[in-house]
């Protein structure tokens, strides 16, 4: 079966240079003994990552929500994901390759949709055009979503006032407070090295990546001791509170939860396996359990990784 490559989505890359905050040669003095060693630089003096390629076979499985769906139905999709560091552009390039049976959009290539021509047959009504807020007809340039990496330099942060009910409902002032009071500088996590390292850091836990992840958590989240020697980090933005559990024995995040107020929305657990060749661990399985309004478990997403290859 010939894999089909989906359009590329460039990740990262906004602030190529920037601050080398949390940079590689920091000594990590907290946490387990393994992390107290001097951390090898993950990037060289030119800001290039030591690893410029990684790949993994990924399988995503999800279950049904029995409130609406037939119990027993499940879905599995396999794909090969690759991240390559593009030096000239200082960005990771992500390509996912699907076998034809695992394409997320069915058995064909992504459909090019002209939404405006999808005619409604309800009476004589039709929706032949797509218009913007001013009423002018707009022609979508592409079905590919533009990311901020396409539009640098970035505009100043303008958070919405109120926003629709589906979005975090905090007011502007609360939003501002939520960010500034916890993080100091507006968005320290968007530094270039962090962005370049993030993709690798999710899949691989080595001394270098562990130190960087921990440092960034400590910079961005509120830390509190957890049970069993783990570190617990919390960050609230608006009404959404995220908790991350960092296991120093593994050197990686092993759990993340999302709450909306007091309500638990999702809990993601990360399972790793030892990778002696890499001198650390690699991600093996990510399970996200969602919870319904009553707190009962609803659907679960399981993502497994095989054949992780970092070069």
């Amino acid at each position: 079966m010939v894999p089909t490559q989906v359009p590329r989505l460039r990740v990262g890359a906004l602030l190529v240079m920037a601050v080398t905050f949390g940079c590689s040669d920091r000594n990590v003095t907290d946490g387990s003994p393994e992390l107290q060693a001097t951390v090898e630089p993950i990037y060289d003096e030119n800001g290039q990552p030591q690893s410029s390629y990684y790949s993994a076979n990924s399988q995503m499985t999800w279950t049904t929500d029995s409130s609406f769906e037939p119990v027993g139905a499940s879905y599995t999709r396999n794909y090969f994901e690759e991240y390559s560091w593009l030096s000239p552009y200082h960005t990771w390039d992500n390509v996912n390759s699907y076998s034809s049976g695992d394409l997320p959009f069915g058995s064909s290539v992504p459909p090019e949709i002209d939404v405006g021509s999808a005619r409604l047959a309800l009476g004589a009504a039709s929706a032949p055009e797509v218009r913007n807020r001013s009423g002018a007809i707009v022609q979508p340039e592409s079905s590919r979503p533009s990311m901020a990496s396409d539009t640098i330099p970035m505009a100043p942060i303008t958070l919405p006032t109120g926003g629709p009910p589906g979005s975090p409902s905090a007011s502007t002032s609360l939003v501002t407070a939520g960010i500034s009071s916890r993080t100091g500088p507006a968005r320290p996590s968007f530094d270039g090295p962090a962005r370049r390292g993030a993709a690798v850091e999710r899949l691989v836990a080595t001394r270098q990546t562990s130190a960087r992840v921990l440092a960034r958590l400590r910079n961005d989240f509120d830390e509190s001791p957890g049970r069993g020697g783990v570190f617990r980090f919390t960050k609230g933005v608006g009404t959404t509170v995220v908790t991350a559990v960092f296991n120093p024995g593994i050197g990686a995040i092993t759990e993340m939860t999302t709450r909306e107020g007091d309500r638990l929305l999702a809990q993601t657990t990360y399972r790793y396996k030892a990778a002696p060749k890499l001198g650390g661990f690699v991600l093996e399985e990510v399970v996200t359990q969602l919870f319904g309004p009553t707190g009962a478990k609803s659907r679960a997403f399981t993502q497994t990784y095989r054949d992780i290859n970092v070069k």
């Binding site: 989906v6 989505l9 990740v11 995503m60 049904t64 409130s67 609406f68 769906e69 037939p70 027993g72 139905a73 879905y75 599995t76 996912n96 997320p104 959009f105 069915g106 992504p110 459909p111 949709i113 999808a118 005619r119 409604l120 047959a121 309800l122 218009r131 913007n132 979508p140 340039e141 979503p145 533009s146 990311m147 901020a148 539009t151 505009a155 942060i157 303008t158 919405p160 629709p164 009910p165 589906g166 979005s167 968005r187 996590s189 968007f190 962090a194 962005r195 993030a198 999710r202 961005d220 989240f221 960050k235 959404t240 995220v242 991350a244 993340m256 999302t258 969602l290 659907r299 997403f301």
Partner: protein, 481 residues
Amino acid sequence: MIRSTMLRMLRTVAWPAFVFGVLPGVASAQSQDQRVVFIHGLFGNNLTWQGTGNYLAQLYQIQPWYPNLGWTNTFETQATNLQSALGSFNQFNAMAWSNGGVAERTYVQQFGASTKLVRGFTVGTPHRGALLVQNVRDGTAGRYASYVLNSIADPFNFYYAWDQDFHDAMDFGPNVIIRVTMELMAWVGYYFVPIINAVAVPASQSVPVGGEMIPSSSFMATLNSPSRLSIEQANMPVRVSAGTSVSPQNAFFTLFSDEPQKWGAVRRLVEYYCFLLYDYYSAHPDFFLQANAWRWLQCAQSMEYFDVDWHFLIGSVQAINNGIVYVDHQDGLVPLGSQTWPGATVQENRLWPTYSIPHRRQITDPAILTLMQSVVNVRFGIPVRPPPLQGSLSGPTAIEEYANGTWSAGASGGYTPYSYQWYSDGYASGTGPSLTDGGWGGGTEHSIVVVVTDSRGGTSTRDLSVYVTYGGGCIYPPCPQ
């Protein structure tokens, strides 16, 4: 428009008939035509069948009746209304769509030996109930709608609020339409759908027929019980049923669109980008954003499962084996299993992939019109309507003075036998297929008229002028001796 419609109704509708919503059939219908009552379904009225009924009446000797039974009433009340609407007439044929089929059957079961229906046809009828009604009434469908809308809008709005990159991308150029759409969807999901559930669900529960449409209702159990089916068989010997189906892919969109595949493509596109954005955010350097990447999975999942969910809601899921969902044929709304009339003498289906006929087109689709012609003609035994009566008149247009001429009449179309009435210069001058008349003086002109009448009172009139010459055929005197 409303005014003219009202005036037309007031002019043409007999008051007793108006009370029960019966509109007369096409003007060309003859009293000797066979009566066919066309029964509407949910949300329908006496106008529902008129286009199709009048079309059939042009082709077959049908006198169409269009009662308004009140779609919210219980099936028992609709049956009572049907009995009233049919008045003192008997020997009706019945053609029913959707819920009208259940009303038709209820009527036969309810009135037994005194039923006025002798032959029945149903198409797209939920003979075993409609599961979607149950899911609407208990709020499941509303909650699902809210879930679907929110699962799409939530990640967009969340990341629009908290990820400046995404915020900028959504405010960039034409992408603003996405942002506006998501705001609208979030609004609908959070406010409109709950309102629907708070208002429409109780309203649907207050619609009397709704409770009876639930597959597990005692009404449905009774309707299809052996004893009731025996009553149908005894009192309506000809029972013809039809079902249709559409592709299981994008079945929901067939409810309102003739291009369901395009809406399905939109759905798949949303799924595709949600999955792609999950990949992006699951490795995002901002752990707050990374921890919420699952929101995109929820979006992708809801889009991936949309078809399955819809089949589940309408009751067409038959089995799930190893993650594969097997579904019954369905018309987008009702599974074929429910469209099948228990005890029908004939079950005619027009099924996907040969045909694709959604529920809303079940009385207008050309394939169904053809099927209904067959039902009317073959199953109901109603003859084809002949062409209109056409009379003819032949004979001399000039005769000699004091001589007689003979004119002949012919006829085609209409209904035999024919009768003929002749008029000479406006006076009745004879009957039968020919007329002999004359004895007029030269230089005069006379009219010959024949009125052909068929057995149902249809008439056709023909005439000609006869010029009377002088002797020897001379037209203008003095004539040669």
